[in-house]
Symmetry: C2
């Protein structure tokens, strides 16, 4: 059976007249009759009741008409969708991100995409550290990662979106919170809260470097896995922390953010994907992300 049979049947069912249907299909009446008969023979079901005066649908024909129309519409839609996918106007992108991307970059991107590319759906795979994202990207589990360079993996295409300074988070009640700007070395005797050191966290290393630059090594390092936990711990008065500036957008009662002097260390946020041409939706998302974040 072929789509031709469905197309012909639908028109005959609509016109209830072989002659008119044939005219609409730009073919002669006899071949139309033949094709319909062939369809009925193949299905083993009579779809039409014909007399020379009128053509009617059988109950089976009635149902088959609905189905046939649905199939033809689906074929059409499939073609259109394929074009959309090839242009990057439709598709699915699995995204991984570091904790600090959660609070500004992702929401802004999701909003922009919903507005400009509504055919693209995002699958947010959740907070993942840079090396885990690199692995997932290579495996194909992830299409796009928002991570913190450096990435030691040449097969990945990495584009830096922005560079941000580190800022301090400290309890609102803390005496140092009264100042609007802090010198990093003022924090030298505070207990620190940070990301796990055994996983290779870029921010963790940046924090150590910054402290080194300010002439001290942070003591009493409490380690937490997620950014929201980290800020909550600070709010609870368990210590202070250094985080990338964009974490500011995570407002938690009892925690105060303050700019820092005394270190030039910055951290970069980058988008990474597997090199290779055929991911149009992914390209579009990446383009949109670059436009959004490298612009300012």
């Amino acid at each position: 059976m072929e789509l031709r049979h469905l197309r012909y049947f639908v028109v005959v069912a609509q016109e209830r007249h072989f002659g008119r249907a044939a005219a609409r299909l730009h073919i002669a009446q006899p071949p139309l009759s033949q094709q319909i008969r062939r369809l009925e023979a193949e299905l083993g079901v009579q779809l039409l009741l014909r007399t020379t005066r009128r053509v009617e649908l059988t109950a089976a024909g009635e149902r088959y008409l609905e189905r046939a129309q649905a199939v033809l519409a689906a074929v059409e839609a499939a073609g259109n969708e394929a074009v959309m996918v090839s242009l990057g106007d439709a598709g699915h992108v699995a995204i991984g991100f570091t904790g600090s991307a959660t609070y500004e970059v992702l929401p802004a991107l999701a909003r922009a995409l919903r507005r400009d590319l509504p055919g693209i759906t995002l699958d947010l795979k959740g907070e993942m550290l840079t090396p885990d994202q690199a692995t997932a990207l290579l495996e194909g589990t992830l299409d796009l990662g928002f991570l913190r360079p450096p990435v030691r993996e040449s097969r990945l295409e990495v584009r830096v979106l922005r560079s941000e300074p580190l800022i301090a988070v400290l309890p609102e009640q803390h005496p140092l919170a009264r100042r609007s700007v802090l010198r990093l070395k003022d924090l030298r005797d505070e207990p620190f809260i940070g990301y796990p050191s055994h996983r290779r966290s870029t921010v963790h290393e940046a924090v150590l470097e910054a402290c080194d630059q300010a002439g001290f090594v942070p003591g009493e390092l409490q380690e937490v896995a997620e950014t929201s936990t980290l800020v909550s711990f600070v709010a609870a008065g368990l210590g202070v922390a250094l985080v990338p500036e964009s974490v500011r957008h995570l407002q938690i009662t009892g925690a105060a953010y303050r700019p820092l002097t005394g270190t030039t260390r910055r951290v970069e946020l980058a988008a990474a994907m597997l090199a290779g041409p055929d991911r149009p939706a992914l390209r579009r998302v990446l383009e949109r992300a670059e436009a959004l974040f490298t612009g300012d």
Copy 2:
């Protein structure tokens, strides 16, 4: 475009190899390559990435594969369903019924159909009087009616399913309710509750005839539209009523049913449909109903 293109594409996508796909399709490799290229040209989208070493799907191809498989399955299903409909194993039947069919005939039929013909769905159009059902059947609003003969409409095919005596309903507290069997003439001075007389209700006429046979005319006739209302009114002590025996299955606290002597008047329950051959599901439902109800 034709289903052939979809079928070929699906196999190539599965095999990721034109040669093997061609073998599975029992055609040679060159025409297969041609058909796939034609498909891509018609869609305006590249679906496959071919090198001489391997065939891969593009993102658009990936999506098109899913859609194509769905379409092919739908075409298959449409054919099967058409056969089912033609055999009466699938379909839809709109059913009308009189109040007194609601409490025994319909539930039993619905149960039997669910078990034996699960492909058939019933659309229960609700309680309708016999003449309204006849009109609806002729209009095509209804496929099958459970009604009380006579039906004065020759285009309808009517089959009597059962004949039942009239029984009395009276308030449980009523002195006559103490007897297990009533003589109809004992009810001569009671207020009666019955179906509307202005609509041509068969039961209404049967009640009048029965009373006539017992030598009286019921006085103080309170009219209600639905059987459940009627029995509730009786339960509330507003009067007595005569109803077909099967209404017994409608148990309402405060109402008692009692067999009657003193009249031979019975009422029939029949199934009615528009004569004409092509309603297989309807035929099957009717057959099932006859087997269920004329058997006992």
